[in-house]
């Protein structure tokens, strides 16, 4: 009969329970609201932790309250604690209160949906929703902040659609929010800027195309939207509301538990709120949701807007607002008046659920079974736990061209813990271009590798972490006929090298690619400015035209000039009229000099420069070949890595790291043995005998002697018993074996091969047992006297039998 109306002042609540934050589960059209943080109290770690707890506590609801059908199959009810199966008197009381509240509510608001107050839990026991929340502190720093926590929860939950999208399992709800996974409107395929430009050029054509496009889009949109429209506004959903105030939360916002995303309370996709709750109370929304949640005011202390079920648990708070409350109550519900005082003392019972425990494995695994597939419009996202896939794959995003998801556009795969530091693999299905991205640490310092084929001498771009390379190579681009390399930070200031190849001459002799490099037509090298040299001596670009035996040089431009010196060497070896080799003639070097200088006109200078260039040319050619070899090597390495896809394991990961695991286990074993040994040495032989004597008294000599004798004889007896026991077993085994042998000999003729096999195996086992027993007996016989002597020795030395020693001394 009682509806508890309470005004809860958030601040007071916070002070008192300091639970600091309330997780409120809003459920109406179902909503879950998580914890709210109010008040700008100085953020104490404790409070923060509680905040965390609350958030975590949310996790339970979907499992226990909302999806009983689903959880039932997977949870073994028998192992759940009693609190899951029964209700305490207080809970019963609470349920009565809730029933009462619900009845009054449906009486007063007959046209609203019945409240979602106490669904059945996995054990088919009705439980009040607030008691399903239990603030829990988890040891993972990721769960400390709402965003990563929400992300975890969303990964951890599996979405199972309600049997009836219009109702939560037990109760009926009227209003429905669109589901999180509603397809978003298709992308606007034409850029506005482009359109404008094009409109200027060809307005009419554009207009037409645009129209077509728009029609197309509309059709698409309609096709896609047709379904959700039918139930729009009728679906139910639960989500989390975080109230502003605590922990620097500046404003209220929603978190959707399935995606882990946050939404503004203004978001249009949340159509309304029926009720909300946290672990302390339950509120019904009395505001109109005609404009989605945009106009809702989340002041839970306002009893006009939010009808509460339990009077606030904060006494101090209540006293402030009590008068208002009673005033309102007087007017509204005369019935309640009498009971109010009583009700006030009613607290929300302690949560019946167990504390959430997330093992590090489960935490790392995140998703159920470590795998989760999320289907988006034209895209599919798959997630895996680290180490689940042997190649380190942790997530894969596939985008499709069409809505039916048949034509793949591109695939992105993210990897973790790869030994080759591969981080992301991007496959563009339309161009067939594959791009691998690496983290720093690849043996070849790879950063990005994009290719269409793993065959050498095809189009490919390899980027490197140039700091990790001795030669400062940043990027190497290859096509069938060229290779371009970009450098940085080299002592010789080389910045660029470009080589053109001619197709390989087919040789008859068998030769592999390595030994038959493609002939080089041209090598172009560019250099940065070397500040140590004057500009007119600092080569900016040199081109080796190998086929024409020509070398072109272009120098850097001086700061105050606009032209740069150039020089061209023709390396023809000619013979003069007398048959002598012409070493150098002025026309072998054509040069343009900005500031003509005397010494450069000299043949000797030119000759030396040319000789130098010849050597350089050889080196460059060699470099190009080296680069080609390196590419081959990289490709080989990549193939090997792809085949092996070894994963690295952190030395701190004691579960996966085999070595450290072995080590730890060995240590544990040693510890255990040590412990056993200690226990043994601590065994008190005398204790049972001393117990017979009055405690605390010193032993007389006579007593000591007797004690010793008793102890020894007892020990002797035990040794004999043990020997007898072994002997008895030995004899028994032998007898049985004999019997069996006898039986076998009698029935040998009639036995099936199976029986015979059985018999033979029995025999061998029995023989083994007998042998062992025999060994044990012999060993016992050997050791028994020694053990006896050892004990005697020990007893002599025992301080409690000091009397004994005296005598012998």
């Amino acid at each position: 009969m009682e509806v508890l109306r309470e005004k809860v002042e958030e601040e007071e609540e916070a002070e008192r329970e300091e639970a600091a934050e309330r997780a409120e589960w809003a459920r109406t059209e179902k909503m879950m609201r998580p914890v709210e943080v109010r008040k700008e109290e100085t953020t104490l770690t404790q409070e923060m932790l509680r905040d965390l707890e609350k958030k975590l506590s949310e996790i339970q609801i979907p499992i226990s309250a909302e999806l009983p059908a689903f959880t039932k199959d997977t949870i073994d009810i028998s192992k759940l604690p009693v609190s899951y199966k029964t209700n305490t008197p207080k809970e019963e009381h609470l349920l009565q209160v809730a029933d009462n509240f619900s009845r009054q509510y449906s009486h007063l608001c007959p046209d609203r949906v019945p409240l979602f107050l106490h669904p059945l839990n996995e054990c088919e026991v009705p439980k009040f929703v607030s008691t399903t929340l239990r603030p829990t502190l988890m040891p993972y720093p990721e769960l400390y902040n709402w965003d990563s926590c929400a992300q975890f929860v969303s990964d951890f939950l599996t979405m199972v659609p309600l049997p009836d999208p219009l109702k939560p399992t037990v109760q009926k709800e009227e209003k429905v929010l669109p589901k999180k996974y509603t397809i978003r409107p298709p992308r606007d395929l034409c850029s506005r800027f482009e359109q404008e430009q094009e409109v200027k050029k060809q307005q009419e054509i554009r207009a037409q195309e645009k129209k077509q496009l728009r029609e197309e889009e509309e059709r698409l949109m309609e096709a896609e939207k047709a379904k959700p429209d039918a139930l729009h506004g009728l679906r139910v959903h639960s989500w989390v509301l975080v109230l502003s105030g605590k922990r620097e939360v500046p404003e209220n916002f929603f978190i959707d538990a399935f995606t882990g995303h946050s939404y503004s309370t203004q978001d249009e996709r949340f159509l309304g709120i029926e009720s909300l709750w946290n672990h302390k109370n339950y509120w019904i929304n009395m505001q109109d949701c005609w404009n989605c949640c945009k106009d809702l005011i989340f002041d839970l202390g306002d009893p006009v807007r939010w009808e509460y079920m339990l009077l606030g648990t904060d006494k101090s708070q209540l006293s402030l607002t009590e008068e208002d409350d009673s005033g309102i109550n007087d007017e509204d519900d005369v019935e309640n008046l009498g009971k109010e005082d009583e009700d006030k003392s009613f607290d929300m019972p302690h949560s019946w659920v167990e504390q959430i425990e997330i093992s590090p494995e489960a935490f790392e695994t995140r998703c159920p079974n470590g795998k989760k597939v999320i289907q988006y419009k034209r895209a599919k996202l798959e997630k895996w736990a680290p180490y689940l896939n042997s190649n380190g794959l942790v997530s894969r995003l596939t985008t499709y061209e069409d809505l039916e998801c048949t034509n793949i556009l591109e695939i992105k795969e993210w990897y973790q813990n790869r030994e080759d530091m591969l981080e992301l693999k991007h496959i563009n299905k339309t161009t067939d271009l594959k791009t691998d991205y690496f983290k720093p640490g690849h043996p070849q310092a790879l950063r990005v590798h994009s290719y269409k084929s793993m065959q050498p001498e095809m189009d490919r771009v390899i980027e490197f972490y140039e700091m990790a390379r001795v030669d400062g190579l940043i990027k190497r681009e290859e096509t069938a006929r060229t290779m371009t390399e970009y450098y940085q930070g080299r002592p010789d200031f080389l910045s660029y090298r470009h080589a053109n190849f001619r197709p390989r001459v087919k040789k008859l002799a068998l030769s592999s690619a390595e030994s038959n490099p493609r002939p080089i037509v041209k090598i172009t090298e560019q250099f940065f400015r070397n500040p140590a040299k004057p500009a007119e001596e600092d080569v900016a670009e040199r081109v080796f035209l190998l086929a024409e035996e020509r070398i072109q040089l272009r120098y850097h431009c001086r700061d105050d000039h606009i032209t740069a010196s150039k020089r061209e060497f023709l390396r023809r070896t000619e013979v003069d009229s007398k048959g002598n080799k012409i070493i150098m003639t002025p026309d072998m070097c054509i040069s343009f000099e900005v500031e003509p200088m005397e010494h450069t006109k000299k043949l000797l200078y030119q000759y030396e420069a040319m000789m130098h260039l010849k050597r350089e040319e050889k080196l460059s050619r060699h470099q190009v070949w080296e680069s080609e070899l390196e590419v081959l090597e990289i490709l080989k390495l990549r193939e090997e890595e792809e085949a092996a896809h070894a994963l690295t394991i952190s030395i701190y990961d004691t579960k996966r790291n085999e070595k450290s695991k072995e080590y730890r286990e060995a240590m544990e074993r040693v510890m255990h043995e040590e412990h056993l040994r200690q226990v043994e040495t601590q065994l008190d032989y005398l204790a049972p005998f001393l117990a017979q004597l009055p405690p605390g008294e010193k032993l007389t000599r006579w007593q000591a002697v007797r004690l010793k004798d008793e102890c020894l004889s007892d020990f002797k007896q035990r040794l004999i018993n043990k020997a007898n026991l072994i002997q008895a077993r030995f004899e028994k085994e032998t007898q049985e074996l004999q019997k069996k042998q006898q039986w076998y000999q009698e029935n040998q003729v009639t036995l099936t091969p199976e029986d015979e096999d059985l018999y033979l195996s029995y025999c061998s086992q029995a023989m083994f047992r007998i042998r062992i027993l025999e060994q044990r007996l012999n060993r016992h016989k050997e050791l028994a006297p020694l053990k006896y002597l050892a004990l005697e020795e020990k007893l002599y030395k025992d301080p409690r039998l000091g009397e004994l020693q005296k005598i012998f001394a």
Binding site: C557, D560, H561, I562, T563, I583, M584, F592, V594, H599, K602, L603, L604, Y607, E608, M611
Partner: protein
Amino acid sequence: MNRLCDSMEPKVMDDDMLKLAVGEQGPQEEAGQLAKQEGILFKDVLSLQLDFRNILRIDNLWQFENLRKLQLDNNIIEKIEGLENLTHLVWLDLSFNNIETIEGLDTLVNLEDLSLFNNRISKIDSLDALIKLQVLSLGNNQIDNMMNIVYLRRFKCLRTLSLSGNPISEAEDYKMFICAYLPDLVYLDFRRIDDHTKELAEAKHQYSIDELKHRENLMQVRLQDERARQEELEKHKTAFVEHLNGSFLFDSMYAEDSEGNKLSYLPGVSELLEAYKDKFVIICVNIFEYGLKQQEKRKIELDTFSECVHEAIQENQEQGKCKIAQFEEKHLSSLSAIQEESELPNIEKMILECSADVSELFNELMMLEMQLVEQLEETINMFERNIVDMVGLFIENVQSLMAQCRDLENHHHEKLLEISISTLEKIVKGDLDEDLPDDLRALFVDKDTIVNAVGASHDIHLLKIDNREDELVTRINSWCTRLVDKIHKDEIMRNRKRVKEINQYIDHMQSELDNLEYSDILD
């Protein structure tokens, strides 16, 4: 060591000998043939070896301007001379000669390796210019004073030293001493100094070295102070107000003024002088501060101007470069087209097109240049106007301040005259109380004498003030003129250079084209 040579006739370092040596040591094989064909200029030679030649006197080396390495070992040289021009020398070997003193090395600032092994040197000095010295070989000489080592402390790069075979190397403390005094040394007498020895040596000579270091530090500090003072003065000089930040001008007024000094002993004059000096100094300081401020302003103005001009030139150059790059690209492709073309008329047509391109480029570049010249001219004129205005204002203000000085002086003069005359009257009346110095009393003979004396003092003062003012005005004016001239001249130079560059480039292009034409026609 030269006994063998002693018996032989000393040789003269003449052109033939040098040529021979250069030829022998120059490039070999193919390059050698070329070199022979062309001849080698001495100034292109980088390394020269003249050992075992019985040379007595170093001579004729002045042409080897770029020489890096010179070996004159195993001769009978007695004096280091004739090396003044070889400023690029890095390595000099004068071992096994008869040198007695180190000299003539003051211009070889790049020298890193110096060998004077086996000579007759008895003292290490005259090496101050060799700041890059790394290796010094002075073995087998006659150095007998340990204190020579202290001299070597100034060579911060010195790592290798050899002194064996000198009298000092006999000393039992020889090695320790050197290690202690030259802590940066790595090799001594061709052996590496181990750390242990270094430590021992340091401990042993710590006291004297500390003292030495202290003295060096003091010297360093004094040098720095001196330098700072110099810089400060330099700064004031560029502001044309040096020595105006105190009583310097006032003091100089009285420095040559004997009458004034005498008169200051008159009763009441010293107080007057004191007040006068204070006021005078205040005005001087005003001028000084104003001068510094103005200097700062002028500097900012000049900096802004240079920056703007620089930017304009840079931008223009970028445009030029861009034009050339475009042209070259086009030119290259048309050249290759010409080479592929076989029809003569076509070739001629294309060549014509090319040369049209070249002249087009010329026009463009020249237009750019002319444009820049005009722009710069305008800017420069504006700057000139501004700077002249600033200087004019400065002079005006300084002159008005100087006028104040003169007023003060006039005022002081009147007061002094008054006192003098009244004193004269008192003396005449004989009721002067105080004793006056004799030379002062000598002035008070009659009224003319005393008035003349005071007047002379006044004239000297005014002269000093005028001189200072004139100096300031002249100097700033000449600075201004020079600055403006320089800017104009620089701009003209720049323009000439650019035009020359453009012409040169165009000529080159044109001649290349002509050659092509020529060769094509030949073909």
